[in-house]
């Protein structure tokens, strides 16, 4: 019933290349995370102007231009870091990777600084009113993703400092870089919604 020979049809061998699984997986993760952020953004927009009392966005928010530039620049640095690694330039990779972490860290510092001001100067907490709840949740969710990203970047930095990261790892580094770009793209959206549209 069944032929014991594989390949009854002879064909000239066709080159068979499929996408790199790391990139596919990260793309899927990004899609899933985008859905989560979308829900938080929708909640933020829905509740704009609906707080019954307490501080409003216009009263208390200050546009974080500098820290935003930091974060968005970090996308550039990580892009060039990955490119350097792909070209085997380990030194450039290390420097640019480190710069990415510094810039990301600055952004987090900026967020923390802003929150400190909001809480202590304006009395805005997550439980103050609808604005407080949606603002801290949305910005906090993003900051959480930045933190996780920084942790991953730091781990790679440690490996790189130990001399264990080379051009053969550039595919994996690119996957991490995809995640970082995603985090930046989310910030563009959050920034627009919170600091531009929301006021």
């Amino acid at each position: 019933m069944m032929s014991a020979i594989a390949n009854p049809i002879s064909q000239p061998p066709v080159p068979w290349t499929l996408p790199y699984r790391g990139k596919v997986a990260m793309a899927c993760l990004i899609i899933a995370e985008s859905a989560i952020f979308t829900i938080f953004v929708v909640a933020y927009l829905f509740y704009l102007g609906k707080s019954l009392a307490g501080p409003t966005p216009r009263e208390v928010l200050e546009t974080p231009i500098f820290f935003t530039i930091c974060l968005l620049s970090s996308s550039l640095t990580i892009h060039f870091a990955a490119k350097s690694l792909h070209g085997g330039k380990r030194g450039a990779f290390l420097a640019l990777w480190f710069a990415t972490i510094v810039l990301g860290g600055l952004f987090l510092f900026g967020t923390g600084h802003e929150w400190h001001r909001l809480i202590y100067q304006h009395g805005l907490t997550i439980s103050t009113n609808l604005f407080g709840t949606t603002y801290y949740s949305l910005v906090g969710l993003h900051a959480f993703h930045v933190t996780v990203g920084l942790l991953m970047l730091a781990i790679v930095l440690l490996f790189a400092l130990a001399g264990r990261v080379g051009a053969e790892h550039s595919a994996r580094v690119e996957v991490l870089s995809m995640y970082w770009h995603f985090v930046d793209a989310v910030w563009v959206v959050v920034f627009t919604v919170v600091y531009v549209l929301g006021r």
Binding site: M1, M2, S3, A4, A6, N7, P8, I9, Q11, V14, W16, L18, P19, Y20, R21, V24, A25, C28, L29, I31, A32, E33, A35, I36, T38, I39, F40, A43, F46, Y47, K50, S51, L52, T125, I126, S127, N129, L130, T133, T134, S137, L141
Partner: protein, 557 residues
């Protein structure tokens, strides 16, 4: 009996301490073992969920019974729904996908075996956590026990004020955790299909099983996550003093509904699409014809996936949306019925002109077609918003969705069991017991769920622990309960069959059904590495080509 000459014979296993075997299963990253773990996990919870349903049906057998208190009843329907959706249906479908997607696409394992294991254990932990609530609760009367807020956990019933204690938190956290597991598995399925297909297996040559699981996984990515987001918001409300769903602070109860149903509706398509996959593999084999309209089946599935993201508020027709909102969702709901109906026609087209073999897998598929048709039609009725204003929140809806989930999904799952059990275990399930299971379950199912439409029409709402006599509901409730017992017996027969056949069933060989997809190429059960040599395929039915070298498929499609 034939075996692939290239299969390397596995050495006979020596007697080992049972603890070692258990350890092996606990640390496994093999997609086949994880598939089996998912399926066994789901079967356990199927029995538990069934017991919960039986308790409810006994309580409702007659009006004003006191079989269980209202508090216990409310926990029963909450746990029954949550268990069946998240810890029976999802795991069992992921289990079959895990086992067969890699083999069907000619791969050795999933793209990320360790993520696979992690995802399973997350789901298992979620199930454990949900049931721990029965023990771990504490708190005020009626609270701090198993959750009792319904499986949709509508706000503000889940707010601290109305659900003190931790029962709602068990619901929230167990589903957050298992949701992460689901996302992990979805990522794995997509990556496996896109990146690990064997040479020659273009996407247009994949079995429909693979296509449909890929579509389902894509939906999981964007449908489960809104629920996760909403659950995070609920935790913020309950623990950080947030106001997402706090109506006293100007928050909205309806926004929870939107978020939940943006998850909830695609979720039911996530559940049914792998069942379409089962039927699309089994019906052709038992009709001895290829699936009718393969490209249309793929297209219709993708279409369903997209349109199903736009229908969610048909669960909310009664919340007071304006006429434009209601009309929009009525329209999209009806539209999604079109590609769904097309699939039914394609299955019928497959059977037409074929040679239908009435073995147990096919019996379950034929019943599936009949029942899914009816379920779809009552769904259309429910999509007619004004009709929905009468029927929603009533036993008519309960009858409708059980028709889909039991009459559709569970029947397809049973079919899958009978079809693939030989491949997984190497033994055939007993055909007589199978037919007994089928007929008994069919009768019980129809007795319960055909009749259940009637109390809904007569005004009986759902989620009530008792009802007033004299409203005309009594006799129908009694009949529904009787059907429950028949189904229970049938399921027990099925479980017995699973166990007995494992030890005593006739050996299956590689290809007991004379089928055409790659899993039937390898031994039953497959070796750890699946294929000694990764095959190359030239059509949608590689085994057909091998069995009919004079008339291969790729000449025709």
């Amino acid at each position: 009996m034939s075996s692939d000459a290239l299969t390397i014979q596995t050495a006979k296993a020596v007697d080992r301490p049972w603890l070692e075997t258990v350890h092996e299963w606990v640390i496994t990253v093999d997609h086949k073992r994880l598939g089996i773990l998912y399926i066994l996990f789901a079967l356990l919870f199927l029995v538990i969920g069934g017991l919960e349903a039986t308790i409810m049906r006994i309580q409702l057998m007659r009006p004003h019974l006191n079989f269980v208190s209202p508090q216990v009843f409310n926990r029963m329907f909450t746990m029954h729904g949550t268990t069946m959706i998240f810890f029976v249906a999802m795991p069992i479908l992921f289990g079959f996908a895990n086992y067969f997607v890699p083999i069907m696409v000619g791969a050795r394992d999933m793209a990320f075996p360790r993520l696979n294991a992690f995802s399973f254990w997350l789901t298992a932990f979620g199930g454990f956590l949900l049931y721990f609530s029965f023990l771990g609760g504490f708190g005020l009367y009626g609270a701090g026990n198993a959750p009792d807020v319904g499986w949709w956990a509508y706000a503000p019933l889940t707010a601290r004020a109305f659900s003190p204690g931790h029962s709602s938190d068990y619901w929230t956290i167990s589903l957050l955790v298992s949701g992460l597991g689901s996302i992990g598995t979805a990522i794995n399925i997509i990556a496996t299909i896109l990146c690990l297909r064997c040479p020659g297996m273009k996407l247009s040559r994949m079995p429909l099983f693979a296509w449909m699981n890929m579509v389902m996984s894509g939906m999981v990515l964007i449908a489960i996550t809104p629920l996760s987001a909403a659950q995070i918001m609920l935790l913020v409300d309950r623990y950080l003093g947030g106001h997402f769903f706090d109506t006293q602070a100007g928050g909205s109860a309806t926004i929870w509904m939107h978020f939940f149903w943006i998850f909830g509706h695609p979720e039911v398509y996530i559940l049914i699409i792998p069942c379409f996959a089962f039927v699309s593999e089994i019906v052709p084999v038992f009709s001895r014809k290829p699936i009718f309209g393969y490209p249309v089946m793929v297209g219709a599935t993708v279409c369903i996936a997209f349109v199903s993201m736009s229908v969610w508020a048909h669960h909310m027709f009664t919340i007071g949306m304006n006429s434009y909102g209601n009309s929009f969702f009525a329209l999209t709901t009806m539209v999604v019925g079109v590609p769904t109906g097309i699939k039914i026609f394609n299955w019928l087209g497959t059977m037409w002109g074929g040679k239908i073999i009435f073995k147990t897998p096919m019996l379950f598929c034929i019943a599936f077609l009949f029942q899914f048709l009816i379920a779809g039609l009552t769904g259309v009725m429910l999509g007619v918003a004004p009709f929905n204003w009468q029927l929603s929140g009533s036993y008519f809806v309960v009858a409708h969705f059980h028709y889909v989930i039991v009459g559709g999904i569970l029947f397809a799952v049973f079919a899958a069991f009978y079809y693939w059990y030989p491949k997984i275990t190497g033994r055939m399930l007993n055909e007589s017991l199978g037919k007994l299971h089928f007929w008994l379950f069919l009768i019980g199912f129809h007795l319960t769920f055909d009749i259940m439409h009637i109390p809904g029409i007569l005004g009986m709402p759902r989620r009530i622990y008792t009802y007033e006599p004299g409203r005309g509901w009594d006799i129908w409730n009694l009949l529904c309960t009787i059907g429950t017992f028949l189904q229970g017996i049938a399921v027990l027969i099925f479980v017995a069959n699973l166990i007995i056949s494992y030890f005593k069933g006739p050996k299956a060989g590689n290809d007991p059904w004379d089928a055409w997809t790659l899993e039937w190429l390898v031994s039953s059960p497959p070796p750890d590495y699946n294929f000694a040599t990764i095959p190359t395929v030239a059509s949608r039915r590689p085994l057909w080509d091998r069995k009919h070298p004079e008339d291969p498929d790729n000449l025709y499609e």
